[in-house]
Each structure stands twice: as C-alpha cells, then as structure tokens.
C-alpha cells in the first residue's frame, strides 16, 4: 500500500527559509527569488556552521597524524563518510570523495584505461572494439570523459538518441547496448528536461550484456530518496554543492568489488602501502582513490547538509519538489509562445524557450525582478542541438522554494515575452 507522502507546509518552508539568509536579501531592489539550485544550491546555516566549527576546533590533516587534533579530525571526516554513504544506501568504504561529480566520472573513465597498462588491474580494461554507450541528453560531464576514454583506448562511443521532446528512444536500447558494450552511462534525471530516465530498464539491459552502469545522479540526489542498492547501479556520481553542501567535494559511489578491481586514478600520498623509486603498492578502496589531502572540511560540510535533508525527510523533500515542479511546468506551458522542453513528470526543474526571444534576454529580464534562473545550453549542447535550440532558460526549485516564488516567475516570463516580442 502506498500512502501519500505529506509535502512541506507553508510554515515548514518558512522555517526552512530562515536557514538560508540570502533569501531575505534583495537583488536589483527586489527580493531574491533563487531558482537556480540545479546549478548550485544555497547552503543552510547548519552547513556553514558545521564547517566553521570543525575549522575552529578540530582542523588537522586526516589519516596521517597521531596527535589529538588529527585523531579528532579523522573521526569527524570518517563520520562524514558514514553519514553520506548511508544516505545513498551504500557502505562507508564504497564512497570516494572527489572534488565534484565531473571528477567522479573522470575517475571511472581513467580507471578503465589505466587498467590497460596495469597487470594487476587488467580485468576492467576497456580495449579497441569495446563499446561505451551514453545518451544524447547527457551533461557534458557524462559525455566528454567517455569520448576521451574512447580516444585513449580505441573503443567506440555510441549513444542512445532522444526523440523530438528529449525522451530517450528506449526502443533502440537492445540494438545499441550489446555484448560489445562495456559501459552504459546516463543521467538519472536530465538537467535540461528534468525528466527521469527509466533506470530499471537501462540497468536490466546492461546486466543482460554484462556492461557496467555509471549513473550521473547530480540532479536526482538532491530531489529524490536515492538508494544505490535499489537502483542496482555499479557507479554513481554526484556533487556536494548541488546538495546544499560546499563546493570542492563530490562523491563517487562504486560497488565494493568494482572499486576493488579498479586501478588508481590520481596518485600521491595517503593512497599507498609501500613506495619505492620504481613502483608503488596501493591501499584498498576508498583510500586508493583519494590521493593527497582530502576535501576535509568540505566532507564535514556535506555531511551536515545530508543531516539537514534527513531531518526534513527526503520523502517530503521529493513531494514538495513534485508539487512545485508541476506548478512550474504547467504554468509555463500555459504562457503564449513558451515551449517547455521535454515531456512527462519533471523532477525539480523545467527548461523552456520563449518564441523569438533569446534565453539571455529572458534571463536578464527576470534578473531585473530579482529572479535568478539559468540561461544557456546548461552543458548539454548535443541535446539543445537535437531540439533545434542554441540555448534555453531553466528554473529549478529547492526545499526553500515557495509556491509564490513559482508564480512570480510565471508572471515575469509572460511579461518578458510581451516586452521583447511587443517591441518587434
């Protein structure tokens, strides 16, 4: 039995907003309406305070020092790993701290080519004739690392195309993902259409042919209850800064036996057992992948962000996001001349095009009213090209977004259309 999840009440959101002081500030004389969380989220005071408290009282190098501060710092750092891994249903040693989601995906892609030159880690090596499959609606962070892997190894890159509204053409899946496919990489939630990929179907096909599944979870983790075991993916990547946490920290989840089989990517201190001038022996995961000094206070900050979301409850976060996004997408579609990109239920964001008006001009008009949205290709040039657009406008919601803010955006978009088209 599915019980309807309660969303956030107006009072809940008001209380949440108090944790984000920037929301009370003015931009161009207007109250800030921040609808750009999909690019980077604002950080609640709880996150800023946790990081500052750590830096004021327990800052030290981790895993290296024997003194008291170093012990305390190491404990708090490893507690952060436990908190963040539990949040996505993984064990603590199955997540690797990276600097962002982009680096997390690069880590996997480089690992698969490094496996070629390393006798000990040959099993996962990608070779000429192997194929890597991505999708036409991926973010550049999930396109270019795979192009580069193909270039380094002689493997072939293929992609699952989308149809005219940006939906994955699943009917082509079996023909594209074959016994030759070594990696199937795709975004859980598109950062342009906001629609979710049919993860279960994609994973099932990858399992049939023995391909690794790499999930770009950047836009999903802040918006949905997210569990790597339920999704049954092999790798998943996301960024701290989109999850109400600091920049400078990202997460790679990897299934334990795969992290164990993957050779190192970045190399240096804190990831070795023995080093001679000729060769190095590496630690087990996750340390093998964490070369040099970690993003220590940033991991602590990210754990605080996760605790913050857990206190609200991801079910309620998701329900709130669903309500707002429906209002947003429905409202936009009803404005004359506005085309909302994509079809189906959206998670946390909607992108749109205003006929005859450039996205930059719309964005500037909205900014004049204090409304912050993202304009451009959102690091998804291939998808925009496929949809016949150079750029679009994207509005994204967060735990602190109100219904009223969405309505303000809708009015402003209608006015922008009027302003620019009226003047023609």
């Amino acid at each position: 039995m599915v019980t309807a999840t309660t969303s956030l009440s107006t009072a809940d959101v008001a209380a949440i907003r108090a944790d984000f002081p920037v929301l009370a500030e003015r931009v161009n004389g207007q109250p800030l309406v921040y609808l750009d969380s999909a690019a980077t989220a604002q950080k609640p005071l709880q996150v800023l305070d946790a990081e500052r408290d750590f830096l004021l009282h327990r800052n030290a190098a981790v895993h290296r020092g024997a003194h008291t501060l170093a012990g305390e710092a190491t404990e708090e750092f490893e507690d952060a790993r436990a908190v963040v891994s539990a949040f996505i249903g993984a064990d603590a040693d199955e997540i690797v701290w990276t600097s962002n989601a982009t680096e997390a995906i690069n880590l996997v892609a480089y690992g698969l080519s490094n496996a070629l030159t390393s006798s000990r880690y040959g099993r996962l090596a990608v070779r000429p004739g192997d194929e890597i499959v991505i999708t036409e609606r991926d973010h550049h962070a999930n396109i270019i690392p795979w192009q580069q892997l193909a270039q380094r190894t002689g493997a072939t890159l293929r992609y699952l195309p989308v149809d005219d509204d940006g939906t994955l053409r699943m009917e082509l899946l079996d023909q594209l993902v074959t016994e030759r496919t070594r990696v199937l990489a795709f975004s859980h939630v598109s950062n342009v259409t906001g629609t979710a990929s049919p993860v279960a179907e994609l994973v099932a096909r990858a399992r049939q042919v023995g391909a690794l599944v790499v999930l770009d979870a950047c836009q999903a983790v802040p918006q949905l209850p997210f569990n790597v075991r339920e999704l049954d993916v092999d790798f998943a990547a996301f960024s701290g800064h989109k999850l109400y946490g600091p920049t400078g920290v990202g997460v790679l989840y990897g299934r334990r036996e795969l992290l164990e089989a993957l050779p190192p990517f970045l190399t240096g201190g804190s990831m070795i057992t023995t080093v001679t001038m000729d060769a190095a022996e590496f630690l087990p995961p996750p340390q093998r992948f964490e070369a040099g000094t970690e993003p220590i206070s940033q991991a602590v900050g990210l754990a605080a962000a996760v605790r913050y979301l857990q206190r609200i409850g991801m079910d309620r976060v998701a329900a709130h996001g669903r309500e707002l996004t429906e209002r947003l997408a429905g409202g936009l579609a009803a404005i004359d001349g506005v085309r909302v990109i994509g079809a189906g239920e959206r998670v946390g964001l909607a992108s749109f095009d205003v006929a005859e008006v450039h996205a930059h001009d719309v964005g500037q008009f909205l900014d004049d009213r204090g409304i912050a949205v993202r304009v451009g290709h959102h690091c998804a040039q291939p998808l925009h090209r496929r949809l016949g657009l150079a750029a679009s406008v994207r509005a994204s919601v967060a735990v602190h977004t109100t219904h009223d803010e969405v309505d303000q955006l809708l009015v402003a978009v209608a006015d922008a259309s009027e302003f620019f088209r009226g003047s023609r």
Binding site: N28, G29, H358, A359, H360, D361, Q364, F365, D368, V375, G376, H377, Q381, H384, A390, A391, D415, F419, F420, S423, R424
Partner: protein, 147 residues
Amino acid sequence: MTSAEFASLYQQIILDHARSGEGHGDPAGFEPQSHQINPTCGDEITLGVRLDDDRIAEVRWEGHGCTISQASASLLTGIVTGSTTEHARAVIDEFRAVMRSRGQLELDEARFGDAVALNGVSRYVSRVKCAMLAWTALEHALAQSEV
C-alpha cells in the same frame, strides 16, 4: 515595471539595431573571416570583411544570439565600415576596455556614435561576452589579413 538599469541596457536603439541588423547576411566570399562562439550560451557569429587596401569596405555577418550581441554586431558594422583597419583595431581595443571596466569607463560618443547605447553592458559582467562577440570576430579577421 522594469528598473532604470534594465531600461538603460535595453534602450530602444539597442532593440532597433537587434532587429534591423546592419551588415546582417551571408558572409560567403568575404575574406578575411572569423567564427566566434560564446561558450556559456552557445551563441555564434561568422563575420567576414571585404578590404579595399587598408580600408574596411564592407562587413557582413550572420549568427544567432541575444539582443545585446545582435545589436552590438549591427552597431559595429556601422562604426567600422569605411574606416582603416588601423582605426578599427584601435576602436576594438577601446570598446573592450570600456566593456571590461565594470561601469568605470564610457564609450566616446565622437568615435562610437549610437553604440554608446552599449555603455550599460559593462555593469553586467556576464553580458560583456555577448557585446564583445562581433568585435572579437572582427579583431580575429583583421589579424589574419596582417600577415
């Protein structure tokens, strides 16, 4: 309903130039040429020049972009057509200096005419690239003809 700053960024003259597009058209056959992209938004311009000795006889460009970039290309065309390449280079340098000044400098009306309407852009860091696109293209085109 819009602020004074917005109104100064989107003056009527800018809106008009974005629509009329002086010099807009297929630059096929024009040499030198340059193709420029604004990586943030994917806006592009291909701009070609027809030279008559050291004079710019004609400018022709096409591409897509926002009001600011289109108006700027149109205004540029008006300013440099008929001038020497040396003058054009000086004008480009001056334009760039003003655009990057974060509102500290203003375009000289004697040299820039209607293009002074672009003064407002320099206060919007993220729009400077839009205004610069055509000017950078002309700079690159002229650099090719130097050799």
